[in-house]
């Protein structure tokens, strides 16, 4: 059963040092505000799980929150590298980051297996690539009917899933629409979940291409307008492509990065202050 609370309370209560956390959102609806709150609260040794680590994990890694990363594609889409991720892998800065690397299809299969309470999932994948040599959880099994070789990957069962959605009702039932990626699977595969939403409404009107997560499968719902920025929430905001480009020089340099995090994230009390700090207006609603 979900609780509607502040993001600060949700992170304090539900995310602990050493937890595995899956913060999902495929370009759209990335829960950046929650990432900042984790940095603010100084979590350590997190096992970060995400198909596309993106700027959100670049920040968590550079801020020293993570000791392990499970992922399938780590770049700043359309811009270039994730320099904090690279610096951790290449130079162990701020400390070493153990990586567990999959393909997109494999990660999606792993989340789906977790959501379905299966110990593993199957796909046609990975064969002939270098991944099985370096990632332990990729095995071949035989189809019991045809004898064909099929790839098995272990289910993902993160301690916490964190996603962003357009809205929730007052009971905490959440609705998201547009590209909803692997978020349903991430939430349903996790032990606990935090959902940040643009808006809390009296009633959820039906929308095309929407995913609804009933309040009783969620742990915490937090009202955080612009909580996906620089990612976006269809119907509420557009992607801040300029921010993604501006991130590149910030992330490139350890000191510039740390100064940015100190000023805008550690130096602000919450997402509202963060938005003011970077000069971002808060939208008026859908």
């Amino acid at each position: 059963m979900t609780t509607i609370c502040s993001l600060r309370e949700a992170v304090a209560e539900l995310i602990h040092d050493g937890d595995s956390i899956a913060m999902e959102g495929f370009t759209h609806l990335i829960p950046h505000a929650a990432g900042h709150e984790i940095i603010r609260q100084g979590r350590r040794n997190l096992h970060l799980v995400r198909m596309t680590p993106d700027v959100i994990y670049d920040q968590l890694i550079g801020a020293g929150c993570a000791s392990r990363l499970t992922f399938s594609w780590g770049g700043n889409p359309g811009v270039g590298s994730l320099y904090r991720l690279r610096d951790a892998v290449e130079n162990a800065w701020p400390h070493a980051l153990e990586i567990e690397e999959h393909s997109h299809a494999g990660m999606a299969t792993r989340y789906a297996a977790g959501a379905a309470n299966l110990p593993f999932g199957i796909l046609r994948g990975y064969v002939g690539t270098g991944l099985p040599e370096h990632t332990s959880g990729i095995k071949q099994i035989s189809c019991p009917f045809t004898g064909e070789s099929i790839t098995a990957v272990p289910a993902l069962r993160p301690d916490v899933a964190v996603v962003h959605a357009q809205r929730a009702d007052r009971e905490g039932t959440v609705q998201m629409w547009g590209l909803t990626g692997v978020q349903k699977e991430a939430v349903l595969s996790a032990q606990r979940s935090i959902v940040t939403v643009e808006e809390i409404v009296d009633e959820l009107t039906p929308m095309a291409n929407s995913v609804v997560l009933p309040s009783w499968v969620l742990t915490a719902v937090c009202h955080v307008p612009q909580g996906a920025h620089p990612s976006f929430a269809m119907g509420y905001s557009t992607r801040d492509n300029a921010f993604y480009k501006a991130w590149d020089p910030i992330a490139k340099d350890r000191e510039v990065f740390t100064a940015w995090i100190d000023r805008h994230v550690r130096g602000t009390a919450d997402h509202e202050e963060f938005c003011q700090s970077i000069g971002l207006g808060v939208h008026a609603g859908v």
Binding site: T27, H28, T52, R86, R124, G130, L131, G178, G181
Partner: protein, 255 residues
């Protein structure tokens, strides 16, 4: 039209779009596209050829018809103009893996002569010189798409004898490897570069130069390739980008 009238990006995009156009003749080719040159090429082909290619994005969009070029794979426009929007697990399982994609697009930091691609690390995996983004959707695109089109700039650094890491499989170590790996798709059929077009030799599976762009010499191609490059007997020159192609592309990019 002089060389300077178009960029090498435009040249690659136009040539990739033409390949899709030649596939369009036998029905709407279903393209699994990433952002960047592939998306631009597929959208250009959508404007130039009938039946037009169907665009599938790994973010879950099926049949997107963007009026402007998407900036990211999760661009709102892609969802709004799609016939269907599905989950990421579904797009990989029911659509790509199921064999419903005719053409997949790939690129990377390294390509070897058997069209294997590296987008993971330069150097050793455990102690990389450069950590690249990783495999993403590539392993299964390379495995399951009907055919694969690679778009990459040709250079000695990128076109290597052997990839430092194999993120996606072309023809493995040569003939028979795809079958041995149980890969259902046909593998890479075209590599579109800034110098010309390579295709796998039907017997040896080795990538050979089948066409050079206008003004490019075989020597340029050889010196931009890290393996002893072979040329097709019937080496031809690609057609100069036409005014229609370039104008359509530029209108798309300006929209």
């Amino acid at each position: 039209m002089s060389d300077a009238a178009y960029t090498t990006d435009e040249l690659m995009i136009v040539n990739a779009a033409r390949q899709l156009g030649s596939l369009a003749a036998s029905g709407h080719p279903v393209c699994f596209v990433g952002i960047g040159l592939p998306s631009t090429a597929a959208n250009l082909a959508r404007h130039l050829y009938r039946p037009s290619p169907v665009l599938v994005y790994e973010s879950g969009c099926i049949g997107s018809k963007p009026t402007r070029l998407p900036l990211s794979i999760g661009d709102g426009e892609l969802a709004e103009t799609a016939d269907a929007v599905v989950s990421v697990p579904e797009i990989f399982a029911y659509w790509l893996q199921a064999g419903r994609v005719d053409v997949g697009f790939l690129g990377g930091a390294q390509l070897d002569k058997y069209a294997n691609i590296n987008s993971t690390v330069i150097g050793e995996y455990e102690h990389p010189l450069t950590r690249l983004p990783g495999a993403g959707g590539a392993p299964e695109i390379a495995a399951s798409a009907g055919t694969v089109m690679v778009i990459m700039r040709q250079s000695k650094r990128a076109f290597v004898e052997r990839c430092d890491f194999r993120s996606s499989v072309g023809y493995g170590d040569g003939p028979g490897d795809r079958e041995r790996f149980g890969l259902r798709g046909g593998g890479p059929k075209w590599v579109i570069t800034d110098l010309g077009v390579l295709e796998p030799d039907p017997t040896s599976c080795e990538l050979c130069m089948v066409a050079l762009h206008p003004g490019v010499t075989p020597e340029q191609a050889i010196s931009a390739t890290g393996w002893p490059l072979r040329f097709a007997d019937a080496l031809h020159t690609t057609d100069m980008p036409t005014t229609l192609e370039l104008e359509t592309l530029r209108e798309l990019q300006a929209a």
